[in-house]
Symmetry: C2
Subunit: 591 residues, 2 copies
């Protein structure tokens, strides 16, 4: 795929110097990611495309542009490309997201609207696409491949088959098939997945992978199936194996998963880094505001010991190759004019952000107006939940008094999302299972999608809260209303609070709402800009801590993977307790 100018003939004239360019960046120290060199250059831009780069005669044609930026010997580098992320994870709308990341130098994101697809289906994907129109950055779309994540183990708001993928290919900024998480379906050649992959291949989309801990012959089979990228790499040897296997490794520093340092340690001794890219996957508003975005990942890689030019290449040119956009990710004639000026090549915080040949941010401030647009879907209630009572949250046994053996999900660690199935003897009073220590909590997953009214109930050990009810409609990947609670009354208050506001997160203690983070758009996204959302989010974190989630870096993220049935071994869904590895529902009560 090539980014085309509006009128190629006019671009040719501009390149030849026959008509004035729109912009000249003079006195730059050009970082050429194709050759790895740094040299003084003047860059001429017309119609969003780099028309000419002059490095031989730096005094010529300085008058042949309508506007001039004097780079004052700063480094001129390509705009950063985020190789994989979910805008929804920032909890911002695509337009508010743009306002937050552009000043940090991210000019392109490859975004997977997977979260909203699980709520609003194709309409959700179209919203993420359309609301990114006309922005001073490229929000390129990968079509979600696994909606729901694991068919049959949960009910999501949509079900994507090859037909849906085919239809979404018609969107203008679609470039790939998003993270193919169901790697077992690929490896086993399951019909549904083979059809989806074939559709993507026939349309020329690149196929984004997702292969955590997949290795050896399993990894080879996964790659033979089509996906050839992975952002789910955590260990150095895993990174090395994937690079050796020809995958693109999108080394990730998200708000929660920091993988770049470990990956670098494993791959630093190889000679070519053509297939090493960077991504943020999931970054929250406050993290973007304070730490940065792709620039922060690049800085981390450099501080680990990576050569700065190679690191910049990974975050620009390599990612563009990965997603098959030919003229993106370098400062050269014919390339899209997305560029940054930075003072320090080891800490690439841009003083100037140029997108499509226009100066769009300077010294951390957005210079262009991103018009607020109204989208009906942003305020449409996605909480399709029947009227609830505290009765719905009672865990009923088939005896009145005594004890039962309960199959529950048990967290291995407060900092990990992995779990095991554990069986415990729990007391029963008045026909209901009771919790006999503070480390145990009830858990409910209430389907919130139209056409479903299932509620999965169970017990969790080691979640981390000591009291109250914590509820969230951000609950990967089906995003059902998930509640961890000490008693049904608190659960009901939290549930009703979120049903009333259209979704979000809520903490309740002793019958009182401590805080509600409202996410009215699909129950996933706030309508607030980053600065306000960060405040709201900080209050929500405090409320979570008040429930006991104290020794965890980001307490918001504890609940959001509780119902994700691709993380071994035990997860909850609206259908009950899920045995992840065996892809089946486990009965609540053991024999």
């Amino acid at each position: 795929m090539r980014i085309q100018p509006k009128d190629k003939r006019m671009l040719l004239k501009a390149a030849l110097g026959q008509i004035p360019c729109d912009l000249l960046i003079k006195n730059a120290n050009l970082v050429n990611v194709i050759t790895g060199e740094i040299y003084p250059a003047n860059v001429f831009i017309y119609d969003g495309i780099i028309a000419h780069v002059e490095y031989k005669d730096l005094q010529s044609d300085l008058d042949k542009a309508k506007e001039v930026i004097d780079a004052d010997n700063k480094y001129l580098i390509p705009g950063f490309i985020d190789a994989h992320e979910h805008i929804e994870s920032s909890m911002m709308t695509p337009r508010n997201f743009a306002k937050a990341v552009i000043p940090h130098g991210t000019t392109t994101v490859i975004t997977d609207p997977h979260e909203i697809a699980n709520v609003w289906g194709m309409e959700g994907v179209r919203y993420m696409h359309d609301s990114g129109n006309g922005l001073p950055m490229r929000q390129l779309i990968d079509i979600p491949s696994c909606v729901p994540a694991v068919p049959g183990l949960e009910n999501a708001g949509a079900d994507f088959l090859a037909d849906q993928i085919e239809e979404l290919c018609g969107l203008e900024r679609v470039i790939g098939l998003a993270e193919v998480m169901d790697f077992l379906a690929v490896i086993n050649g399951e019909d549904r997945m083979m059809d989806i992959l074939k559709t993507a291949e026939d349309r020329g989309l690149y196929i984004q992978g997702h292969a955590p801990f997949v290795s050896g012959r399993m990894l080879s089979a996964y790659i033979c199936g089509g996906p050839n990228t992975c952002h789910e790499t955590r260990m150095g040897d895993e990174g090395l194996e994937k690079l050796r296997s020809g995958m693109f490794v999108d080394a990730r520093d998200s708000s929660i998963a920091k993988n770049v340092a470990a990956i670098w340690e494993g791959v630093k001794d190889i000679k070519f880094f053509d297939h090493l890219c960077f991504c943020t996957d999931d970054r929250e508003a406050d993290d973007i505001l304070h730490a940065g975005h792709v620039n922060d990942v690049v800085r981390n890689a450099i501080s680990c010991g990576m050569d700065p030019v190679a690191a910049i290449k990974s975050a620009t040119y390599n990612s563009a190759r990965e997603v098959k956009i030919e003229n993106l990710g370098a400062v050269a004639p014919g390339f899209a004019a997305d560029m940054l000026l930075v003072d320090d090549i080891r800490n690439p915080e841009p003083s100037h952000v140029i997108f499509g040949g226009k100066l769009v941010a300077q010294d951390g401030k957005l210079l262009v107006d991103i018009e607020d647009q109204e989208f009906e879907i942003e305020r449409r209630n996605s909480m399709h939940v029947k009227s609830l009572s505290s009765e719905d949250f009672l865990l009923k046994a088939d005896i009145e008094e005594g004890s039962v053996r309960v199959n529950l999900m048990k967290y291995n660690d407060l900092l990990l999302s992995s779990t095991v199935v554990s069986t415990e003897e729990l007391p029963v009073k008045n026909g209901c299972v009771q919790l006999n220590d503070d480390d145990l909590k009830y858990v409910a997953v209430v389907n919130r999608h139209e056409g479903h009214d299932t509620i999965g109930l169970g017990v969790v050990r080691g979640f981390g809260t000591t009291t109250g009810a914590l509820a969230s409609t951000v609950s990967h990947d089906s995003h059902n209303l998930t509640i961890v609670y000490d008693n049904p009354e608190n659960a009901l208050i939290a549930a009703n609070e979120l049903i009333a506001c259209g979704g979000g997160m809520c903490a309740v203690k002793d019958g009182k709402v401590l805080h509600t983070l409202e996410l009215p758009c699909a129950g996933l996204i706030s309508l607030k800009p980053a600065e306000q959302l960060a405040v709201d989010s900080a209050q929500m974190k405090d409320a979570n801590r008040a429930l006991g989630l104290v020794n965890i870096e980001n307490p918001l993220l504890r609940i959001v993977t509780l119902a994700l049935p691709v993380i071994p071994e035990a997860k909850m869904s609206d259908l009950g307790l899920v045995d992840v590895l065996n892809k089946k529902i486990i009965p609540l009560f053991a024999k």
Copy 2:
């Protein structure tokens, strides 16, 4: 574009070890061109695709393949890719060409059937495509973009517009638009060229460039027009400028133009060589037999100082990226199983050539049978020339006796194909222009294509022959019958000889044919295999030397660019003397 297995599900099973692979290459020293590493590995192949590469446990699964090659610690590298060439220039049919290059390790060529397109049009392109079907190598086709080379200055056998390009896109192995030689048409945004480029872009073809000595803003404009590769780079600084400008530089060592050493000298200090590739462009049968093919170019680059692994990467992975084939050019799961075993990484002459997972050549010998196929076009007479007489070769003046001032083409040097327009006073006898020294010769370009009967006559200085007539139907790019001669009688003998045999090359001295190299297919291609053709060709060279072409490495190539109206400044065509830079016909007689 991806090379697909016949049945992906079976490939997945093979990758997983659930069914036996077709071939295992064990005990290899794998040269991983993606990471730049070399390490011991076993490689499992199924259905033409690499199913799995094992490097952790080299003792496992050794029984899981139907056939085994013990690499005995040799280097295992990807099969070589020739980034640009014309099979016609070998003067061999596609099938005979395959027999010659496969033992040298070339498993893929990107071939531009430009020569035959100028003779037989679309049918010629289809022949080159179809006769490459089923070969144990990949002959991938770029569609000729400039037929004729410069419209209006010559009559070729065809005229390709966007419609023809569009139609040829339907051929299975088409991957690109071939060398866009008319760089001025690109830079100036001429309609015909813009339409051709748009057709190629819309069909997702890569666009191969051709930009000799193009630099600065002209080069920028050319790249903005679409082409982003160049094999016409001769100087180091030219190579550096093109790499910096984001082009792929296909460094060439053809039979006549040896550019690799000079390019390397200019680019050796850069850090990344992602865009440096190799090509042979035009290599003759005897050169292929004795020096080699792409392997010879790689060896040259290494002997110039290039790192062997980087050089192998340039000749494999980089070229595959250039032409946008995703799973070609590396030894990794999911990649096409085209590989070589070599003893010496600095001199990559393969002991084993594996194509599509099959051992096809060993120790310089082809192991598989390339069946001879009959194509009617191979023997169809392409010499559409009216009955000639010696009268046709008389250069008539408009006076009977005296002298005239003649505009002639004058070679600058015996070793260069560049020329200037020169004006000389020549005697006239019996109404005809006479030559008054041995360095002057007559030249005739006789159109040989259906529907044309034009003959361009003129005078050439410095061509190099001292006596006789030298004739050729290999005469870029229109391939009209071109004759350099001392007197009309010799010219007529040479012309009639080639008309009778369907084209080729012929040397005549004192009324006697010294040798005729018969090229019955399109007047360009012999039907002989390399070994026989090399003998025939050597005899033709001796005959050329007998005419005076002694101080020139390859005397066959002297005449073939005499009529090529893209090489400055003066060339002959069937329409007369061409002023290349001003794109016009110059009158024979000066005022």
